[in-house]
């Protein structure tokens, strides 16, 4: 056993020594090659850094770098690569005889903020196998929006509200807004006014206020999201989009936010609750119909007008049949009123049937 361990120890030692000798031989060979004084290529780049300065984000900028072979053997550019996908290098020629020159064109897609990227040039220059070109830029947004979109929050029918978004050209150059276009919004009236701030004699400005005024007329949907399309004569902001959002409050509201889950009930038993429905704008109204849409177990058994018809107390009863299985029952309840707009409300109600 001890003998076999000793053999392995010697084998390992032999491997280490062989490796060390191989490395030393290779090193001395390469030293010998460099020390020979043979002709060699040498790469030289004129001004190997370039700062594009402040540029609009997304814009493509280019710069040409000149590469010389100042050695006495042909220089071969083996590989040109970049540190980031935003930079595309193109080389004119890859084989340069002594004293010849070539160009590398760097195309940079500018990103927002202060950024830098590198171009790597791998060649057969033994002293500098990889030369580096540095690029820098400061990208500014083409347009700034304050706030980021139109927000009307929650609106009521008939209520007029305004929301303003300020557009500022990133480069500070004055421009003119040519058109503003909104999609058709059903049930809501909208007007748009574009105002330049401190305009010049031609009515151009680097800052514009877009004021949107909205008045909901019908409750066809409870949420609106829309996009305002703006076109300008600014070369970097030909087309711009501003998002907007508002929610529309239903003209009929439940008082005291009642729970629509009515709790538990045993088969053959009833659960009853009272709900008060009011008009949001203090208008009087009548309840014309109440209809369960999914489950007849839920019924409005009594309607009582309060406050001269501005509010109504509804008594909702869930009648659980005697053989009802354990589980959940739920329905939407259609409540139709005589209000001229949004006359239908469809709240959901549910109950948990406990068979045991």
């Amino acid at each position: 056993m001890a003998e076999s361990d000793a053999i392995w120890k010697w084998v390992l030692l032999a491997l280490v020594i062989t490796g060390a000798i191989t490395w030393l031989v290779l090193q001395s060979a390469s030293i010998k090659k460099l020390a020979a004084g043979d002709p060699r290529p040498r790469i030289f780049i004129d001004r190997d850094t370039h700062d594009f300065g402040t540029v609009m984000s997304g814009e493509k900028v280019t710069h040409r770098f000149k590469i010389h072979n100042v050695g006495d053997a042909p220089l071969i550019l083996r590989k040109i690569s970049a540190s980031c996908s935003c930079t595309v290098p193109k080389v004119e020629r890859t084989r340069l005889p002594p004293d010849a020159a070539s160009t590398v064109e760097a195309e940079l897609t500018v990103r927002t903020g202060r950024r830098s990227s590198r171009i790597y040039i791998d060649s057969n220059d033994p002293d500098q196998p990889r030369a580096i070109i540095q690029l820098a830029s400061e990208g500014i947004k083409t347009v700034r929006m304050e706030p980021s979109g139109f927000d009307f929050g929650e609106m009521r029918l008939g209520q007029t509200a305004s929301s303003t978004v300020r557009l500022t050209a990133g480069d500070g150059e004055p421009f003119r807004i040519l058109t503003t276009k909104l999609p058709e919004l059903k049930g809501i009236e909208v007007t748009i006014v574009a105002r330049p701030l401190e305009p010049d004699a031609d009515g151009r400005s680097a800052r514009w206020d877009l004021a949107l005024t909205a008045t909901p007329r019908d409750h066809l949907q409870s949420e609106f999201s829309f996009t305002l399309d703006v076109s300008t004569d600014h070369p970097a902001i030909r087309k711009h989009k501003v998002e907007g959002y508002c929610t529309l409050r239903h003209p009929l509201q439940w008082i005291d936010e009642p729970r629509h889950f009515l709790g538990v009930a045993r088969p053959g038993k009833n659960v009853q609750t009272e709900l008060i429905l009011a008009s949001d704008n203090n208008a009087t109204f009548k309840i014309l119909e109440t209809l369960p849409l999914h489950d007849d177990a839920f019924k409005i058994i009594k309607i009582e007008a309060l406050d001269e018809g501005r509010r109504h107390r509804l008594t909702l009863r869930a009648e659980v049949p005697s053989g009802a299985p354990q589980g959940f029952r739920a329905t939407r309840l259609r409540i139709r009123t005589d209000l001229p707009v949004a006359n239908i409300l469809e709240p959901s109600f549910s109950i948990h049937v406990l068979a045991r």
Binding site: A2, H260, V264, F328, A330, S350
Partner: protein, 141 residues
């Protein structure tokens, strides 16, 4: 050179050191590199939790509703005594249409979720999108 008597002891020490080094590497490398297999854990992003017995009590009292996201086998082996809402696994299943009035009516009512022991129920993200007051049930071990 070591004496013949010392060789087995040195080898033993070397082996011990190697085992210790490998053990340390096996502990450190997975978390350092992220290259490791891991058992799937229950996906539970809820910060509100409720004890199982209290959840059952509140459900029986009509104060809350339990949604059981466990696989069918687990549900059958250990059913919720008073019943729970079962939701389809596919988010585009037509069964969701039937469940809509029930889920809509639960706004403002605590909804207790029993999560699968491991992995994620495909419908969980849909439940989260409904804006309900969701709680996670801590199951007894």
């Amino acid at each position: 050179m070591s004496s013949p008597a010392e060789t087995p002891r040195t080898l033993g020490l070397g082996a011990l050191l190697t085992v210790a080094g490998l053990t340390a590497l096996s502990l450190v490398m997975p978390s350092a590199t992220g290259l490791h297999a891991e058992l799937s854990k229950p996906i539970n992003l809820l910060t509100q939790t409720i004890n199982y017995s209290l959840a059952m009590e509140n459900s029986r009292g009509g104060l809350a509703v339990i949604v059981d996201l466990r696989p069918t086998d687990d549900r059958n082996k250990n059913p919720v005594p008073d019943g729970a809402v079962i939701v389809p696994e596919q988010s585009d299943s037509p069964e969701w249409e039937q469940l809509t009035p029930l889920l809509e009516s639960l706004e403002g009512t605590p909804v207790y979720i029993i999560f699968p022991a491991s992995g994620e129920h495909p419908a969980y993200s849909k439940l989260r999108s409904l804006g309900l007051d969701l709680w996670s049930v801590e199951m007894p071990r």
